[in-house]
Subunit: 107 residues, 2 copies
DNA sequence: ATTTTATATTGCAATATTACGATAAAGCAA
DNA sequence: TTGCTTTATCGTAATATTGCAATATAAAAT
């Protein structure tokens, strides 16, 4: 046992959970915030800014990439990670939709 | 190693991560959605609705309770869980604030 | 008082995540 | 080429999460 039973849940619920999972680590929240406020980003900056080892940062970046939140291009010699703005807004909308449904006539 | 280094992150980042963690499982997303759309909720309903064993549902409910999203009162013979609306709106605001900061002049 | 019903807790096995040292790969500079 | 810098991957240990059977608790019904 131990594996999440994703198959019994709806795609919508699974997707929101997957998005939330990426945000469920303070390092990734910090990374996202940092990148979203920069014009560009070089991974090595993050090692200093966040305070985790370079392989760890690389792994966290990969998790963020998996849900499509980053687009990367080369800028001179360094890889440049940026927020994928379209996707960012999709996620914002997903959370907004989720939080907007609440019944006010409760105990 | 393996433990998250929460101490190196800001309270804001840790809190958002903690909230996201609760939403990072489809069962909890489904539970929250279900409760938020009901006037009341009896845990045993959830066992049928969600499709996980009763102890598992109980544990998930506990995670949700930990971040203050539920208030429970007794209604007749059954415990009634409801969404804590104030807290719900706080979380909505937290996500909204997070997603609202993005630099548009990127690569 | 006993049974039934609803929820919580315990204990444990399976799986997932986190972190980092070591190492590899890829580009640039000399 | 050789060396330097930056990022990715591998391997592994520590920790956390998930799920459920078994059991406990607590309130209501009989």
């Amino acid at each position: 046992m131990g594996a999440s039973k994703t198959h019994i849940f709806s795609p919508t619920h699974n997707e929101l959970a997957q998005i939330a999972k990426v945000m469920a680590h303070p390092a990734r929240v910090a990374i996202l915030e940092y990148i979203s406020k920069q014009d560009a980003c070089i991974c090595n900056d993050l090692v200093d800014v966040i305070g985790l080892a370079q392989p760890t940062i690389s792994q966290h970046l990969n998790e963020i990439k998996k849900i499509g939140l980053l687009k990367g291009t080369f800028e001179g010699k360094n890889l440049c990670y940026c927020i994928n703005q379209e996707r960012w807004e999709e996620l914002q909308q997903a959370f907004h939709t989720f939080f907007s449904n609440i019944n006010r006539n409760c105990c």
